[in-house]
Symmetry: C2
Subunit: 305 residues, 2 copies
């Protein structure tokens, strides 16, 4: 694996910077503030969606685009749709009745910068916009592809995906000792894994890869998704709030079962490293065109925010 790390230093920061600029530009146009009573709604969406955020999910879509040579503009539109879902979930999740967070991506959360009602509506609006973007013919000229993207994103974000995982997370706070590693793993596969999985699945759909040819990408997505969450738990347990951009130490404070509370720091770190190695091995059928995906896998392990 040593040869594969060689070019990370060069390709990853440039790829992050490029996709971040493209996503910000897309949102700047999509979320132009109207001159009427909806102005605050748009300002709240812009506050949450523009500037800040790693843009890991759009980067994954654009990295998949490199595998299958589909149009980059389409990759950015799909990445923006996923980011609409991701950002709406952060806005709602930060609310007082959920995680009650004051800071996100180094800025006040939406309900702190505006108010709770605006946070509910900004989240709901970004949720609808995700599907409006995918249903636009500019995203893909083939409506079969559009419908498959929409069906998969709805599943990945709804009660059998992200929203279902968030509910499990709430239920976990009262479940206590009965919440073991298998349960945390299943919870995280829904809560964060499903949407990360969709990023790669979207690449395969737009690349017109048949379902039976998607096994490697699905394995990669599964492994980096889980590694991502383990590292999230490690950052919460050990990270610095200023670097992470949001409050840390919340899990232990809430007495929540996490990968770190169940495995301990060093086993959790080893598990994340093993998953990332395994993710890279899932890409064995690809050559240099998958170097960006390999670099992203290592970034997931080494990130500090």
């Amino acid at each position: 694996m040593a040869t594969e790390t060689m070019s990370d230093g060069a390709i990853l920061p440039a790829a992050f910077a490029r996709v971040s600029g493209e996503i910000d530009a897309f949102f700047d146009t999509l979320l132009a503030v109207p001159d009427d009573g909806r102005a605050q709604l748009y300002r709240a969406m812009r506050h949450a969606a523009i500037g800040g955020g790693k843009r890991l999910r759009p980067l994954l879509v654009s990295a998949a685009c490199a595998l299958f040579n589909f149009d980059r503009d389409r990759a950015i539109r799909v990445g923006a749709a996923i980011e609409c879902i991701h950002v709406y979930s952060l806005i709602h999740d930060d609310m007082p009745c959920m995680d009650d967070d004051d800071m996100r991506r180094g800025k006040p959360t939406v309900h702190r910068a505006f108010d709770e009602a605006t946070a509910v509506l900004a989240g709901d609006s970004l949720h609808a916009l995700a599907f409006e973007v995918l249903a636009d013919p500019a995203t893909h000229p083939d409506p079969y592809v559009q419908v498959e993207l929409i069906a998969e994103l709805a599943r990945a974000s709804g009660p059998v995906g992200m929203a279902g995982g968030q509910m499990m997370d709430l239920a976990a706070e009262t479940a206590g000792d009965t919440f073991d590693l298998a349960a945390v793993t299943r919870l995280q596969q829904l809560k964060t894994g499903a949407l990360i999985g969709f990023c790669l699945e979207a690449g395969a759909i737009m690349g017109r890869v048949r379902p039976e040819g998607r096994t490697g990408l699905r394995g990669y997505a599964h492994d980096i998704g889980l590694a991502f969450q383990i590292v999230d738990d490690l950052l919460d347990a050990e990270g610095d709030a200023a670097a992470v951009g949001k409050a840390v130490g919340k899990d232990a404070g809430a007495g929540k079962a996490t990968f770190v509370s169940l495995m301990g720091v060093s086993r959790a770190r080893a598990q994340a490293a093993m998953l990332v190695d395994q993710a890279v091995q899932h890409l064995h059928a690809f050559g240099a065109e998958a170097d960006l995906l390999r670099a992203i896998a290592r970034f997931v392990l080494e990130r500090d925010r």
Copy 2:
């Protein structure tokens, strides 16, 4: 118009009962409670989505289906998708940070029966399910039709539709005197009119009516949408909470500008009656196949909840 009222007594209650049963049955299957940490999420969705509610929007879709002879199962699936959006918006709108309502459809609101976090997630989950239902090939075999339905529903429910209207409504509470009849009309066209408009638009899309042939249906939708909201304001000002199924007198209490506060009760009632007459006139090109739509228009005026 006297001849058109003739059969209302017969067709409308039967049509309401039939579509209500079909929508409840659809949700009963769609929202089967899983045996895991998501059980409460599904119970909350069932609480809000099954039993109760007029099902006016699904009835409008099935009435449009009678105009264009498309498959009734498809009409029910589209009606259920719209109802997912409608119900999610009620769940979020009832929350303490929004309208702070304890009762809805004669039952405790979701955040009262469960908790606020569950209400946020149940709303978000129904929102995603709306698009999952439309993206299912069972809704329509032609992906062009599916994509058009999805694009229109996303627009009607997002920041240029329902969610945008809700934001205007919040902004109105602080706008005071500057909020005139034109502003209230525009607000309501977004807040409730856009989704009612989509019910008829969906019928035209599935009936493969070209955009230029949809003028009459759009006029009908516009007029009953506005009449519906004026009657809502009248029920809030004059209605009985037990009959209406939710708290009344809230608008005056909040000092909100409404059709009733701006026009007075008798002018508002006359305006609603005029709009319903106009809605029926928009159907002049149709014969008996539009009798259900005509009966619905009159129901909008005469309803007591």
